[in-house]
């Protein structure tokens, strides 16, 4: 039994070693796939984005734009010089020149000073975003913008109350030092771990295909019938091809 199986394995290895195209399909293509997929997904799975997302702020008041930009920058977001107008910003987004552009309307700061009760509508801001931006990044930036707006509102309220405070004191990033600890589990999977199931399916595809074609060729050539006449069971024939 083992002797017969060894003979089948030896034959497959010899045949494979002389079939350049078969070798390429079996080894080079999956290897190339693994390398490409690992590189493509390494950024997504290494915990933090390799490049900070660029954003710009457009505001009539340059000082306000600068202050907002300072509050919003950092931890994955980087400010870049903004466009001159909202129209230019929209065009820039279409051309993938910007990822995020925050448009601050005129008199925004004054609108923030208005008392906010249950009936009034909060002053509006417009965030123009690249549709290819990951939703988690968009959400994070949105929260950061709302935090910056709240900081402006509080800063204004304190100023009107005659309390002097450093405007940057209300920067969300400086509110507290937040340590994040992940408990339990194996942590975030690496790009390799994340893709193992896909590779298995891919591998099966590359194993099943050559095996099927081997059976077709052997059937056409008559070698399969000859092996059957030598009482080689089908399970052994299959194992003889899967093994190597």
């Amino acid at each position: 039994m083992i002797r017969r199986l060894l003979a089948l394995w030896e034959k497959e290895c010899l045949a494979l070693s002389r079939d350049v195209h078969g070798l390429a399909v079996l080894f080079l293509m999956p290897a190339a796939f693994i390398v490409v997929m690992s590189l493509a997904l390494s950024d997504a799975f290494n915990g933090a984005p390799a490049r900070a997302t660029e954003f710009a702020v457009i505001a009539a008041d340059a000082a306000l734009a600068d202050r907002l930009a300072r509050n919003l920058a950092g931890e994955g977001f980087r400010v870049v010089p903004g466009p001159e107008s909202e129209a230019e910003a929209r065009n820039g987004l279409r051309l993938a020149k910007y990822k995020l552009v925050l448009v601050v309307p005129r008199d925004f700061e004054r609108a923030l000073a208005a008392p906010l009760d249950g009936k009034s509508t909060p002053p509006g801001l417009t965030l123009l975003a690249d549709p290819a931006l990951p939703p988690t990044q968009l959400l994070a930036f949105r929260q950061r913008v709302l935090g910056a707006a709240l900081a402006l509102r509080i800063s204004g309220m304190m100023s009107r109350a005659g309390i002097t405070a450093d405007p940057d004191a209300f920067d969300l990033k400086r509110a507290a030092t937040l340590n994040v600890e992940t408990i339990g589990g194996g942590g975030r999977p690496s790009s390799v771990q994340q893709n193992v199931p896909a590779w298995l399916i891919f591998g099966m595809f590359f194993v099943v295909m050559p095996i099927s074609s081997l059976f077709i060729v052997e059937r056409r050539d008559g070698t399969l019938a000859r092996l059957v006449s030598l009482r080689v069971p089908f399970s052994m024939l299959l194992l003889g091809k899967v093994g190597p």
């Binding site: 017969r4 060894l6 003979a7 034959k11 002389r18 008559g222 070698t223 019938a225 000859r226 006449s229």
Partner: protein
């Protein structure tokens, strides 16, 4: 080994219309060469395939020495050898590797395998090309390799399905002489061919089958006692009509 008996053998291909074999009864004596003749589609290869255990689902009985052939064959893979119409070997492997592989799947190894490979190669006179890839051999050498593989297990029953198709006269003469020398020593040989002169030259007994039925069977000398040749008998029995 004694006579190989085929009794009331019938076979229908799955999904096929008419029976490929219908109530075939033959007594194939040991020690000689039994010619199996018939036009294209008569059922010769189907009968050979059933005898070799390649096709399952036939009704009837096949026995050798009063034992079911399947049991004898199952107990010893090399009990029955087949030399099919196709070049049933691996073109990517050398002749020696092919011989070693087909010996290996019959359970041979070590000195026994080496001895059988050497003997089969010597018999088929392919020793000088043992290191050459089988796919690069001439038609005549491929036929000889096909024959050598069939002889590896020293089969008690040897099935030869048109073993001289597509070879030059020299190779044909060599193959016929070799096959003739295999008869005797209790070996049963079944030989199919479309060449009547070949059958007349080497066979002791013949059967002519057509449309899955035996038209005539017996000793060649008796069947041609009236002086008519085998071809005349064949054309008369098969009515000389063109087959699809």
């Amino acid at each position: 080994m004694g006579t190989l008996n085929v009794e009331a053998l019938s076979f229908r291909y799955p999904g096929g219309g008419d029976a490929a074999l219908e109530d075939i009864t033959l007594a194939i004596p040991a020690g000689g060469i039994f010619g199996l003749l018939g036009p294209n589609g008569a059922g010769k290869t189907t009968l050979i395939s059933i005898l070799a255990g390649q096709l399952q689902g036939a009704t009837g009985r096949i026995t050798a020495d009063e034992e079911p052939l399947a049991a004898l064959h199952g107990g010893r893979p090399g009990f029955l050898g087949i030399v099919p119409q196709e070049y049933a070997f691996y073109p990517m492997l050398t002749c020696a590797e092919n011989l070693r592989f087909f010996g290996g799947v019959q359970g041979m190894s070590g000195a026994r395998l080496r001895e059988r490979v050497k003997a089969a190669a010597a018999f088929a006179r392919i020793e000088s090309v043992l290191a050459r890839r089988a796919g690069r051999l001439s038609g005549g050498l491929k036929r000889r390799l096909n024959l050598a593989i069939g002889l590896l297990g020293e089969p008690a029953i040897l099935l030869l399905d048109e073993p001289t198709v597509g070879v030059d006269p020299q190779s044909r003469a060599f193959l016929l002489e070799s096959i003739r020398s295999l008869a005797g020593a209790g070996r049963t040989i079944v030989y199919t061919s479309h060449y009547m002169e070949e059958v007349e030259a080497i066979c002791d007994h013949v059967a002519i089958i057509d449309r899955g039925r035996v038209l005539v069977s017996g000793a060649l000398a008796e069947l041609t006692r009236d002086g008519s040749g085998l071809e005349q008998l064949f054309m008369r029995l098969t009515r000389g009509t063109l087959r699809d």
